[in-house]
Protein backbone atom coordinates (compact mmCIF):
# COMPACT_ATOMS: atom_id res chain seq x y z
CA UNK A 1 0.00 0.00 0.00
CA UNK A 2 1.38 3.36 -0.97
CA UNK A 3 0.70 6.25 1.34
CA UNK A 4 -1.49 8.85 -0.34
CA UNK A 5 0.59 11.79 -1.55
CA UNK A 6 -0.35 14.87 0.41
CA UNK A 7 -1.16 18.07 -1.41
CA UNK A 8 0.71 20.14 1.18
CA UNK A 9 4.16 19.69 2.63
CA UNK A 10 3.75 18.75 6.28
CA UNK A 11 5.91 20.44 8.79
CA UNK A 12 8.24 21.84 6.14
CA UNK A 13 10.46 23.90 8.37
CA UNK A 14 11.58 22.07 11.42
CA UNK A 15 13.43 18.79 10.86
CA UNK A 16 14.43 19.63 7.28
CA UNK A 17 16.36 22.59 8.71
CA UNK A 18 18.48 20.34 10.89
CA UNK A 19 21.61 20.12 8.73
CA UNK A 20 21.60 23.87 8.23
CA UNK A 21 21.04 24.45 11.96
CA UNK A 22 23.91 22.12 12.85
CA UNK A 23 26.21 24.06 10.52
CA UNK A 24 25.23 27.28 12.26
CA UNK A 25 25.73 25.78 15.71
CA UNK A 26 29.11 24.39 14.70
CA UNK A 27 30.13 27.79 13.40
CA UNK A 28 29.15 29.43 16.71
CA UNK A 29 30.47 26.83 19.15
CA UNK A 30 33.41 25.58 17.08
CA UNK A 31 32.13 22.02 17.47
CA UNK A 32 28.91 20.27 18.41
CA UNK A 33 29.07 19.95 22.17
CA UNK A 34 26.23 18.46 24.18
CA UNK A 35 25.12 21.97 24.89
CA UNK A 36 25.06 22.85 21.20
CA UNK A 37 23.05 19.71 20.37
CA UNK A 38 20.62 20.53 23.17
CA UNK A 39 20.18 24.06 21.91
CA UNK A 40 19.56 22.98 18.30
CA UNK A 41 17.00 20.46 19.55
CA UNK A 42 15.16 23.14 21.51
CA UNK A 43 15.12 25.57 18.62
CA UNK A 44 13.74 23.05 16.13
CA UNK A 45 11.38 21.26 18.48
CA UNK A 46 13.24 17.95 18.13
CA UNK A 47 14.60 15.59 20.75
CA UNK A 48 18.36 15.71 21.46
CA UNK A 49 18.42 12.09 20.27
CA UNK A 50 17.06 13.04 16.86
CA UNK A 51 19.63 15.81 16.55
CA UNK A 52 22.50 13.61 17.73
CA UNK A 53 21.53 10.82 15.35
CA UNK A 54 21.87 13.18 12.39
CA UNK A 55 24.94 15.00 13.74
CA UNK A 56 26.85 11.76 14.32
CA UNK A 57 26.04 10.37 10.87
CA UNK A 58 27.81 13.05 8.84
CA UNK A 59 31.60 13.39 8.87
CA UNK A 60 31.55 17.16 8.58
CA UNK A 61 29.80 17.57 11.91
CA UNK A 62 32.39 17.52 14.69
CA UNK A 63 31.53 16.01 18.03
CA UNK A 64 34.81 17.08 19.61
CA UNK A 65 36.81 20.32 19.64
CA UNK A 66 38.73 21.18 16.48
CA UNK A 67 41.76 23.28 15.67
CA UNK A 68 41.36 26.72 14.19
CA UNK A 69 42.51 25.30 10.85
CA UNK A 70 41.15 21.88 9.95
CA UNK A 71 43.50 20.20 7.49
CA UNK A 72 41.79 17.49 5.46
CA UNK A 73 44.00 15.22 3.36
CA UNK A 74 42.39 13.14 0.61
CA UNK A 75 43.38 9.48 0.64
CA UNK A 76 41.47 8.57 -2.53
CA UNK A 77 42.95 6.37 -5.25
CA UNK A 78 43.57 9.21 -7.71
CA UNK A 79 45.46 11.27 -5.12
CA UNK A 80 47.48 8.21 -4.08
CA UNK A 81 48.48 7.49 -7.70
CA UNK A 82 49.99 10.98 -7.98
CA UNK A 83 52.06 10.66 -4.81
CA UNK A 84 49.41 11.84 -2.38
CA UNK A 85 47.85 10.36 0.77
CA UNK A 86 50.42 8.74 3.12
CA UNK A 87 53.47 10.83 2.09
CA UNK A 88 51.40 14.01 2.47
CA UNK A 89 49.89 12.84 5.76
CA UNK A 90 53.29 11.86 7.17
CA UNK A 91 54.77 15.19 6.16
CA UNK A 92 52.00 17.16 7.89
CA UNK A 93 52.15 14.95 11.00
CA UNK A 94 55.86 15.65 11.37
CA UNK A 95 55.63 19.30 10.41
CA UNK A 96 52.93 20.05 13.00
CA UNK A 97 53.63 17.32 15.56
CA UNK A 98 50.08 16.07 15.26
CA UNK A 99 48.26 12.75 14.90
CA UNK A 100 45.40 11.76 12.64
CA UNK A 101 42.22 13.08 14.22
CA UNK A 102 44.26 15.13 16.66
CA UNK A 103 44.85 18.81 17.25
CA UNK A 104 48.20 20.56 17.56
CA UNK A 105 49.26 21.64 21.09
CA UNK A 106 48.59 25.32 20.32
CA UNK A 107 45.06 24.47 19.14
CA UNK A 108 45.81 25.97 15.78
CA UNK A 109 45.64 22.91 13.51
CA UNK A 110 43.78 19.64 13.40
CA UNK A 111 44.43 16.83 10.94
CA UNK A 112 41.87 14.61 9.32
CA UNK A 113 42.18 11.98 6.60
CA UNK A 114 39.19 12.27 4.28
CA UNK A 115 37.71 10.49 1.30
CA UNK A 116 37.67 11.72 -2.30
CA UNK A 117 37.28 15.52 -2.51
CA UNK A 118 36.22 15.36 -6.18
CA UNK A 119 39.41 17.17 -7.13
CA UNK A 120 41.17 14.22 -8.78
CA UNK A 121 42.30 16.45 -11.64
CA UNK A 122 44.23 18.49 -9.06
CA UNK A 123 45.70 15.46 -7.26
CA UNK A 124 47.10 15.35 -4.70
CA UNK A 125 44.48 17.55 -3.07
CA UNK A 126 43.91 18.81 0.47
CA UNK A 127 41.42 21.14 2.07
CA UNK A 128 42.04 23.59 4.89
CA UNK A 129 38.71 24.56 6.43
CA UNK A 130 36.58 25.24 3.34
CA UNK A 131 39.41 26.07 0.96
CA UNK A 132 40.61 23.50 -1.59
CA UNK A 133 44.30 23.25 -2.51
CA UNK A 134 45.43 21.13 -5.46
CA UNK A 135 48.73 19.77 -6.84
CA UNK A 136 50.14 19.73 -3.31
CA UNK A 137 53.88 19.36 -2.70
CA UNK A 138 55.88 19.39 0.54
CA UNK A 139 57.02 22.94 -0.28
CA UNK A 140 53.45 24.08 -0.83
CA UNK A 141 52.34 22.61 2.49
CA UNK A 142 55.31 24.21 4.24
CA UNK A 143 54.41 27.58 2.82
CA UNK A 144 50.71 27.23 3.72
CA UNK A 145 51.49 26.16 7.30
CA UNK A 146 53.91 29.06 7.73
CA UNK A 147 51.31 31.53 6.48
CA UNK A 148 48.56 30.16 8.70
CA UNK A 149 50.83 29.88 11.77
CA UNK A 150 51.68 33.57 11.59
CA UNK A 151 48.00 34.57 11.28
CA UNK A 152 46.15 35.49 14.43
Amino acid sequence: MLPQAKTKIRNPKSRAMLLAALYIAQEQYGWLSEQAIQRVAERLGLTPGQVYSTASFYTMFKLKPQGQYRIQVCEGLSCYLIGGAEPVIDFIKKRLDITNGGTSPDGKFSLEIVQCLAACDLAPAIKINDELYGNITDEKIDQLMAELSSKE
Binding site: A5, L18, Y58, T59, F61, G76, L77, C120
Partner: protein, 423 residues
Amino acid sequence: MFEPVLTQNIHRPDSEKISTYLANGGYEAARLALTQYAPQELIDMVKRSGLRGRGGAGFPAGVKWGFMPKDANIQKILAVNTDEGEPGTFKDRQIVECDPHQIIEGVIIASYAVGANRAYVYIRGEFFLGVKRWIKAIADAYEREFLGKNIFGAGFDLDISVHRGAGAYICGEETAMIESLEGKPGNPRLKPPYPAQVGLFGLPTLVHNIETLACIKHIVQRGPEWFAGIGTAESKGPKIFSVSGHVNRPGNYELPLGTPLSEIIFEHAGGIRDGKRLKAVIPGGASTPVLTADQADTLMAFETLEKAGSQLGTGAIIVMDETTCMVEAARRIAKFFAHESCGRCVPCRIGSVRLFETLERIEGGKGTPNDIDYALYLAENIDGRTFCPMGAALVNPARSTIQKFPEEYQYHITNKTCWVNRH
Protein backbone atom coordinates in the same frame (compact mmCIF):
# COMPACT_ATOMS: atom_id res chain seq x y z
CA MET B 1 35.78 16.98 -34.51
CA PHE B 2 33.16 17.08 -31.75
CA GLU B 3 32.14 20.54 -30.52
CA PRO B 4 31.59 20.57 -26.75
CA VAL B 5 28.04 21.38 -25.74
CA LEU B 6 27.74 21.00 -21.95
CA THR B 7 31.16 22.54 -21.36
CA GLN B 8 31.03 25.17 -24.10
CA ASN B 9 30.90 28.04 -21.60
CA ILE B 10 33.20 26.90 -18.85
CA HIS B 11 36.40 28.38 -20.26
CA ARG B 12 34.94 31.85 -20.79
CA PRO B 13 36.02 34.51 -18.30
CA ASP B 14 33.37 34.95 -15.57
CA SER B 15 31.54 31.91 -16.97
CA GLU B 16 29.55 31.52 -13.74
CA LYS B 17 27.92 34.96 -14.00
CA ILE B 18 24.41 35.44 -15.32
CA SER B 19 25.55 38.27 -17.61
CA THR B 20 28.00 35.91 -19.36
CA TYR B 21 25.34 33.26 -19.61
CA LEU B 22 22.75 35.66 -21.07
CA ALA B 23 25.27 37.08 -23.56
CA ASN B 24 25.61 33.55 -24.93
CA GLY B 25 21.96 32.80 -25.46
CA GLY B 26 21.19 31.84 -21.88
CA TYR B 27 17.61 31.07 -20.76
CA GLU B 28 16.34 31.10 -24.35
CA ALA B 29 15.67 27.36 -24.21
CA ALA B 30 13.63 27.73 -21.02
CA ARG B 31 11.64 30.58 -22.57
CA LEU B 32 11.00 28.46 -25.65
CA ALA B 33 9.97 25.43 -23.58
CA LEU B 34 7.57 27.32 -21.32
CA THR B 35 5.96 29.46 -24.02
CA GLN B 36 5.87 27.11 -27.03
CA TYR B 37 5.51 23.59 -25.63
CA ALA B 38 3.00 21.71 -23.55
CA PRO B 39 4.55 19.69 -20.67
CA GLN B 40 3.74 16.38 -22.36
CA GLU B 41 5.51 17.49 -25.55
CA LEU B 42 8.67 18.09 -23.52
CA ILE B 43 8.42 14.69 -21.87
CA ASP B 44 8.08 13.08 -25.29
CA MET B 45 10.98 15.11 -26.55
CA VAL B 46 13.29 13.92 -23.78
CA LYS B 47 12.11 10.35 -24.35
CA ARG B 48 12.93 10.63 -28.06
CA SER B 49 16.37 12.08 -27.30
CA GLY B 50 17.38 8.85 -25.57
CA LEU B 51 18.95 10.77 -22.66
CA ARG B 52 19.97 8.45 -19.83
CA GLY B 53 20.83 9.61 -16.31
CA ARG B 54 24.42 10.73 -15.83
CA GLY B 55 24.66 10.07 -12.11
CA GLY B 56 25.70 6.43 -12.44
CA ALA B 57 22.60 4.30 -12.95
CA GLY B 58 21.83 5.39 -16.51
CA PHE B 59 18.05 5.27 -16.25
CA PRO B 60 16.20 6.83 -19.24
CA ALA B 61 15.34 10.39 -18.17
CA GLY B 62 12.15 10.72 -20.23
CA VAL B 63 10.76 7.50 -18.75
CA LYS B 64 11.45 8.85 -15.27
CA TRP B 65 9.54 12.03 -16.15
CA GLY B 66 6.67 9.88 -17.38
CA PHE B 67 6.48 8.16 -13.96
CA MET B 68 5.50 11.41 -12.26
CA PRO B 69 1.76 11.64 -11.57
CA LYS B 70 -0.14 13.79 -14.07
CA ASP B 71 -2.73 15.04 -11.55
CA ALA B 72 -2.19 18.81 -11.31
CA ASN B 73 -3.63 18.84 -7.77
CA ILE B 74 -0.76 16.80 -6.40
CA GLN B 75 2.21 18.90 -5.37
CA LYS B 76 5.43 17.64 -6.94
CA ILE B 77 9.10 18.20 -6.33
CA LEU B 78 12.33 18.21 -8.32
CA ALA B 79 15.43 17.24 -6.35
CA VAL B 80 18.75 18.23 -7.88
CA ASN B 81 21.61 15.92 -7.03
CA THR B 82 24.98 17.68 -6.71
CA ASP B 83 26.28 15.18 -4.17
CA GLU B 84 29.20 14.07 -6.30
CA GLY B 85 31.33 11.71 -4.24
CA GLU B 86 32.27 8.69 -6.35
CA PRO B 87 36.09 8.60 -6.21
CA GLY B 88 37.50 9.69 -9.55
CA THR B 89 34.54 11.89 -10.45
CA PHE B 90 34.83 15.67 -10.59
CA LYS B 91 32.52 16.71 -13.45
CA ASP B 92 29.64 18.02 -11.34
CA ARG B 93 31.98 20.20 -9.31
CA GLN B 94 33.18 21.87 -12.47
CA ILE B 95 29.69 22.37 -13.94
CA VAL B 96 28.37 23.93 -10.72
CA GLU B 97 31.39 26.13 -10.21
CA CYS B 98 31.68 27.26 -13.84
CA ASP B 99 28.21 27.13 -15.38
CA PRO B 100 25.44 26.94 -12.75
CA HIS B 101 22.86 28.72 -14.91
CA GLN B 102 22.93 25.91 -17.45
CA ILE B 103 21.65 23.62 -14.69
CA ILE B 104 19.02 26.10 -13.49
CA GLU B 105 17.70 26.29 -17.04
CA GLY B 106 17.40 22.51 -17.07
CA VAL B 107 15.69 22.63 -13.69
CA ILE B 108 13.10 25.12 -14.97
CA ILE B 109 12.31 23.04 -18.06
CA ALA B 110 12.17 19.72 -16.17
CA SER B 111 10.01 21.20 -13.39
CA TYR B 112 7.59 22.65 -15.92
CA ALA B 113 7.40 19.35 -17.81
CA VAL B 114 6.51 17.30 -14.72
CA GLY B 115 4.52 20.04 -12.97
CA ALA B 116 6.84 20.58 -10.00
CA ASN B 117 6.64 24.01 -8.38
CA ARG B 118 9.38 23.40 -5.88
CA ALA B 119 12.97 22.35 -6.48
CA TYR B 120 15.53 21.39 -3.85
CA VAL B 121 19.21 21.46 -4.66
CA TYR B 122 21.30 19.08 -2.61
CA ILE B 123 25.02 19.76 -2.76
CA ARG B 124 27.93 17.97 -1.18
CA GLY B 125 29.04 19.75 2.00
CA GLU B 126 32.66 19.77 0.89
CA PHE B 127 31.84 21.85 -2.22
CA PHE B 128 32.11 25.24 -0.54
CA LEU B 129 32.69 27.19 -3.75
CA GLY B 130 29.92 25.19 -5.42
CA VAL B 131 27.48 26.13 -2.64
CA LYS B 132 28.34 29.80 -3.06
CA ARG B 133 27.96 29.58 -6.84
CA TRP B 134 24.60 27.82 -6.54
CA ILE B 135 23.24 30.43 -4.12
CA LYS B 136 24.46 33.37 -6.19
CA ALA B 137 23.16 31.90 -9.46
CA ILE B 138 19.72 31.23 -7.98
CA ALA B 139 19.53 34.76 -6.52
CA ASP B 140 20.45 36.25 -9.91
CA ALA B 141 17.91 34.07 -11.70
CA TYR B 142 15.21 35.24 -9.26
CA GLU B 143 16.18 38.86 -9.88
CA ARG B 144 15.69 38.41 -13.63
CA GLU B 145 12.40 36.62 -12.95
CA PHE B 146 13.53 33.29 -14.42
CA LEU B 147 12.48 31.86 -11.07
CA GLY B 148 9.53 32.74 -8.85
CA LYS B 149 5.99 33.55 -9.99
CA ASN B 150 4.65 33.36 -13.52
CA ILE B 151 7.96 32.61 -15.25
CA PHE B 152 8.11 33.97 -18.84
CA GLY B 153 4.45 34.91 -18.44
CA ALA B 154 3.61 31.25 -18.91
CA GLY B 155 1.67 30.99 -15.66
CA PHE B 156 4.24 28.61 -14.16
CA ASP B 157 5.74 29.15 -10.70
CA LEU B 158 8.97 27.64 -9.42
CA ASP B 159 10.95 28.13 -6.22
CA ILE B 160 14.42 26.72 -5.60
CA SER B 161 16.53 26.46 -2.47
CA VAL B 162 20.00 25.08 -1.80
CA HIS B 163 20.73 22.49 0.88
CA ARG B 164 24.19 21.49 1.96
CA GLY B 165 25.05 17.90 2.71
CA ALA B 166 27.61 17.22 5.40
CA GLY B 167 29.95 14.50 4.20
CA ALA B 168 28.32 11.17 3.35
CA TYR B 169 28.87 9.36 0.04
CA ILE B 170 25.64 7.43 0.42
CA CYS B 171 23.62 10.64 0.12
CA GLY B 172 24.30 10.50 -3.63
CA GLU B 173 21.83 7.59 -3.68
CA GLU B 174 18.49 9.20 -4.43
CA THR B 175 16.47 7.98 -1.46
CA ALA B 176 19.34 8.62 0.98
CA MET B 177 19.54 12.14 -0.43
CA ILE B 178 15.83 12.59 0.22
CA GLU B 179 16.28 11.42 3.83
CA SER B 180 19.14 13.88 4.22
CA LEU B 181 17.04 16.73 2.78
CA GLU B 182 14.49 15.89 5.46
CA GLY B 183 17.18 16.37 8.09
CA LYS B 184 17.75 12.71 8.90
CA PRO B 185 20.78 10.43 8.65
CA GLY B 186 21.28 9.40 5.01
CA ASN B 187 19.94 5.86 5.17
CA PRO B 188 18.48 4.68 1.84
CA ARG B 189 14.79 3.84 1.70
CA LEU B 190 13.26 0.64 0.48
CA LYS B 191 12.15 0.78 -3.17
CA PRO B 192 9.37 0.58 -4.27
CA PRO B 193 7.79 3.00 -3.70
CA TYR B 194 10.09 4.97 -6.00
CA PRO B 195 10.60 8.70 -5.41
CA ALA B 196 8.31 9.47 -8.36
CA GLN B 197 5.52 8.07 -6.19
CA VAL B 198 6.65 8.84 -2.64
CA GLY B 199 9.68 11.09 -2.35
CA LEU B 200 10.66 14.16 -0.39
CA PHE B 201 8.12 14.93 2.38
CA GLY B 202 6.03 12.09 0.98
CA LEU B 203 5.47 13.92 -2.30
CA PRO B 204 6.22 12.66 -5.81
CA THR B 205 9.81 13.65 -6.50
CA LEU B 206 11.89 13.65 -9.64
CA VAL B 207 15.58 13.23 -8.82
CA HIS B 208 18.27 14.09 -11.35
CA ASN B 209 22.02 14.42 -11.44
CA ILE B 210 23.08 17.87 -12.60
CA GLU B 211 24.84 16.67 -15.77
CA THR B 212 21.52 15.11 -16.82
CA LEU B 213 19.79 18.44 -16.18
CA ALA B 214 22.50 20.29 -18.10
CA CYS B 215 21.59 18.25 -21.21
CA ILE B 216 17.94 19.37 -21.15
CA LYS B 217 18.28 22.89 -22.53
CA HIS B 218 20.33 21.62 -25.46
CA ILE B 219 17.73 18.97 -26.27
CA VAL B 220 15.02 21.66 -26.33
CA GLN B 221 17.13 24.05 -28.37
CA ARG B 222 18.69 21.66 -30.90
CA GLY B 223 16.02 19.02 -30.94
CA PRO B 224 15.89 15.42 -29.70
CA GLU B 225 17.04 14.12 -33.11
CA TRP B 226 20.29 16.05 -32.79
CA PHE B 227 20.88 14.52 -29.34
CA ALA B 228 19.95 11.01 -30.48
CA GLY B 229 22.31 11.41 -33.45
CA ILE B 230 25.29 11.51 -31.07
CA GLY B 231 26.60 8.32 -29.46
CA THR B 232 25.82 4.63 -29.86
CA ALA B 233 22.66 2.53 -30.17
CA GLU B 234 21.84 2.63 -26.47
CA SER B 235 23.90 5.57 -25.22
CA LYS B 236 22.99 8.95 -26.66
CA GLY B 237 24.44 12.40 -26.43
CA PRO B 238 27.56 14.09 -25.12
CA LYS B 239 29.14 13.02 -21.83
CA ILE B 240 31.73 14.58 -19.58
CA PHE B 241 34.53 12.14 -18.78
CA SER B 242 36.67 12.92 -15.73
CA VAL B 243 40.15 11.56 -16.32
CA SER B 244 42.61 11.21 -13.43
CA GLY B 245 45.56 9.10 -12.34
CA HIS B 246 48.71 8.47 -14.37
CA VAL B 247 47.93 10.65 -17.39
CA ASN B 248 49.72 13.74 -18.66
CA ARG B 249 46.63 15.96 -18.73
CA PRO B 250 44.07 14.98 -16.10
CA GLY B 251 40.78 16.83 -16.44
CA ASN B 252 37.22 16.80 -17.72
CA TYR B 253 36.71 15.97 -21.39
CA GLU B 254 33.34 16.28 -23.03
CA LEU B 255 32.99 13.77 -25.85
CA PRO B 256 30.24 11.74 -27.51
CA LEU B 257 29.22 8.60 -25.65
CA GLY B 258 30.83 5.72 -27.48
CA THR B 259 34.26 7.36 -27.74
CA PRO B 260 36.96 4.67 -27.38
CA LEU B 261 38.59 4.62 -23.95
CA SER B 262 42.02 4.58 -25.61
CA GLU B 263 41.24 7.78 -27.54
CA ILE B 264 40.31 9.55 -24.30
CA ILE B 265 43.44 8.39 -22.48
CA PHE B 266 46.02 8.76 -25.25
CA GLU B 267 44.70 11.68 -27.31
CA HIS B 268 42.64 13.88 -25.04
CA ALA B 269 44.37 13.25 -21.72
CA GLY B 270 47.80 13.21 -23.35
CA GLY B 271 48.77 9.58 -22.70
CA ILE B 272 50.54 7.94 -19.78
CA ARG B 273 52.95 9.98 -17.67
CA ASP B 274 56.73 9.54 -17.88
CA GLY B 275 56.45 7.28 -20.94
CA LYS B 276 55.19 4.40 -18.81
CA ARG B 277 52.87 1.66 -20.05
CA LEU B 278 49.15 1.46 -19.35
CA LYS B 279 48.25 -1.32 -16.94
CA ALA B 280 44.63 -0.95 -15.87
CA VAL B 281 41.73 1.47 -16.02
CA ILE B 282 38.70 1.98 -13.82
CA PRO B 283 36.26 3.34 -16.40
CA GLY B 284 33.32 4.72 -14.44
CA GLY B 285 34.35 5.71 -10.92
CA ALA B 286 35.69 3.63 -8.04
CA SER B 287 32.66 1.35 -7.87
CA THR B 288 33.04 0.01 -11.42
CA PRO B 289 35.08 -3.13 -12.28
CA VAL B 290 38.60 -2.58 -13.52
CA LEU B 291 39.58 -3.08 -17.17
CA THR B 292 43.00 -4.30 -18.33
CA ALA B 293 45.21 -2.50 -20.88
CA ASP B 294 44.02 -5.02 -23.51
CA GLN B 295 40.51 -3.68 -23.12
CA ALA B 296 41.48 -0.06 -23.79
CA ASP B 297 39.67 -0.06 -27.14
CA THR B 298 36.33 -0.53 -25.40
CA LEU B 299 33.84 2.18 -26.33
CA MET B 300 32.75 4.40 -23.45
CA ALA B 301 29.03 3.66 -23.57
CA PHE B 302 26.56 1.90 -21.27
CA GLU B 303 26.13 -1.26 -23.34
CA THR B 304 29.73 -1.65 -24.54
CA LEU B 305 31.20 -1.36 -21.06
CA GLU B 306 28.67 -3.81 -19.73
CA LYS B 307 29.72 -6.26 -22.43
CA ALA B 308 33.33 -5.74 -21.34
CA GLY B 309 32.35 -6.69 -17.78
CA SER B 310 32.31 -3.21 -16.33
CA GLN B 311 30.00 -0.17 -16.20
CA LEU B 312 29.89 3.41 -17.44
CA GLY B 313 28.97 4.65 -13.95
CA THR B 314 29.72 8.36 -13.77
CA GLY B 315 32.26 8.21 -16.61
CA ALA B 316 35.18 8.80 -14.24
CA ILE B 317 38.27 7.24 -15.76
CA ILE B 318 41.07 6.38 -13.32
CA VAL B 319 44.20 5.46 -15.24
CA MET B 320 46.89 3.25 -13.70
CA ASP B 321 50.31 2.59 -15.20
CA GLU B 322 52.64 -0.40 -14.82
CA THR B 323 53.98 0.82 -11.45
CA THR B 324 50.58 0.41 -9.77
CA CYS B 325 49.96 -2.41 -7.31
CA MET B 326 46.44 -3.66 -8.04
CA VAL B 327 46.05 -5.09 -4.54
CA GLU B 328 46.79 -1.67 -3.10
CA ALA B 329 44.35 0.01 -5.52
CA ALA B 330 41.61 -2.42 -4.48
CA ARG B 331 42.49 -2.05 -0.78
CA ARG B 332 42.24 1.73 -1.00
CA ILE B 333 38.83 1.64 -2.64
CA ALA B 334 37.64 -1.03 -0.18
CA LYS B 335 38.66 1.30 2.65
CA PHE B 336 36.56 4.05 1.10
CA PHE B 337 33.46 1.85 0.99
CA ALA B 338 34.01 0.50 4.50
CA HIS B 339 34.15 4.11 5.69
CA GLU B 340 31.09 5.18 3.71
CA SER B 341 28.74 2.30 4.48
CA CYS B 342 25.71 3.88 6.13
CA GLY B 343 25.39 0.94 8.52
CA ARG B 344 21.77 0.18 7.84
CA CYS B 345 22.13 -3.40 6.64
CA VAL B 346 24.49 -6.13 7.80
CA PRO B 347 26.05 -7.38 4.53
CA CYS B 348 27.29 -3.89 3.73
CA ARG B 349 28.13 -2.71 7.26
CA ILE B 350 30.08 -5.82 8.28
CA GLY B 351 30.98 -7.13 4.84
CA SER B 352 32.64 -3.93 3.66
CA VAL B 353 34.90 -3.89 6.72
CA ARG B 354 35.80 -7.60 6.46
CA LEU B 355 36.60 -7.15 2.78
CA PHE B 356 38.84 -4.19 3.54
CA GLU B 357 40.60 -6.08 6.34
CA THR B 358 41.22 -9.06 4.06
CA LEU B 359 42.72 -6.89 1.32
CA GLU B 360 44.79 -5.01 3.90
CA ARG B 361 46.13 -8.32 5.21
CA ILE B 362 47.11 -9.48 1.73
CA GLU B 363 48.62 -6.14 0.77
CA GLY B 364 50.61 -5.95 3.99
CA GLY B 365 52.20 -9.37 3.41
CA LYS B 366 50.14 -11.09 6.13
CA GLY B 367 47.71 -12.85 3.85
CA THR B 368 47.09 -16.59 4.05
CA PRO B 369 46.46 -18.83 1.01
CA ASN B 370 42.74 -18.86 1.89
CA ASP B 371 42.39 -15.10 1.85
CA ILE B 372 41.74 -14.76 -1.89
CA ASP B 373 38.87 -17.23 -1.71
CA TYR B 374 37.65 -15.55 1.45
CA ALA B 375 37.55 -12.17 -0.32
CA LEU B 376 35.56 -13.69 -3.17
CA TYR B 377 33.24 -15.39 -0.69
CA LEU B 378 32.60 -12.05 0.99
CA ALA B 379 31.94 -10.40 -2.36
CA GLU B 380 29.49 -13.15 -3.27
CA ASN B 381 27.61 -12.65 -0.03
CA ILE B 382 27.43 -8.87 -0.23
CA ASP B 383 26.51 -8.44 -3.90
CA GLY B 384 22.74 -8.43 -4.36
CA ARG B 385 22.08 -8.89 -0.66
CA THR B 386 22.09 -5.30 0.47
CA PHE B 387 19.36 -2.75 0.93
CA CYS B 388 20.67 -0.33 -1.72
CA PRO B 389 23.02 -0.57 -4.74
CA MET B 390 26.08 0.15 -2.60
CA GLY B 391 26.62 -3.55 -1.92
CA ALA B 392 26.94 -4.35 -5.61
CA ALA B 393 29.23 -1.34 -5.98
CA LEU B 394 31.61 -2.07 -3.14
CA VAL B 395 32.57 -5.58 -4.23
CA ASN B 396 33.51 -4.60 -7.79
CA PRO B 397 37.07 -3.33 -7.24
CA ALA B 398 38.14 -6.34 -5.14
CA ARG B 399 36.42 -8.96 -7.28
CA SER B 400 37.53 -7.53 -10.62
CA THR B 401 41.17 -7.11 -9.59
CA ILE B 402 41.25 -10.67 -8.22
CA GLN B 403 39.80 -11.94 -11.50
CA LYS B 404 42.06 -9.90 -13.76
CA PHE B 405 45.30 -9.79 -11.77
CA PRO B 406 45.30 -13.07 -9.78
CA GLU B 407 49.08 -13.37 -10.04
CA GLU B 408 49.53 -10.15 -8.06
CA TYR B 409 47.40 -11.40 -5.20
CA GLN B 410 49.19 -14.75 -5.27
CA TYR B 411 52.58 -13.04 -5.30
CA HIS B 412 51.65 -10.92 -2.27
CA ILE B 413 50.65 -14.01 -0.31
CA THR B 414 53.61 -16.17 -1.33
CA ASN B 415 56.36 -13.56 -1.18
CA LYS B 416 54.93 -11.18 1.45
CA THR B 417 55.75 -8.29 -0.83
CA CYS B 418 54.47 -6.45 -3.82
CA TRP B 419 54.47 -7.75 -7.41
CA VAL B 420 55.43 -4.37 -8.88
CA ASN B 421 58.59 -4.26 -6.74
CA ARG B 422 59.63 -7.80 -7.66
CA HIS B 423 62.76 -6.94 -9.69
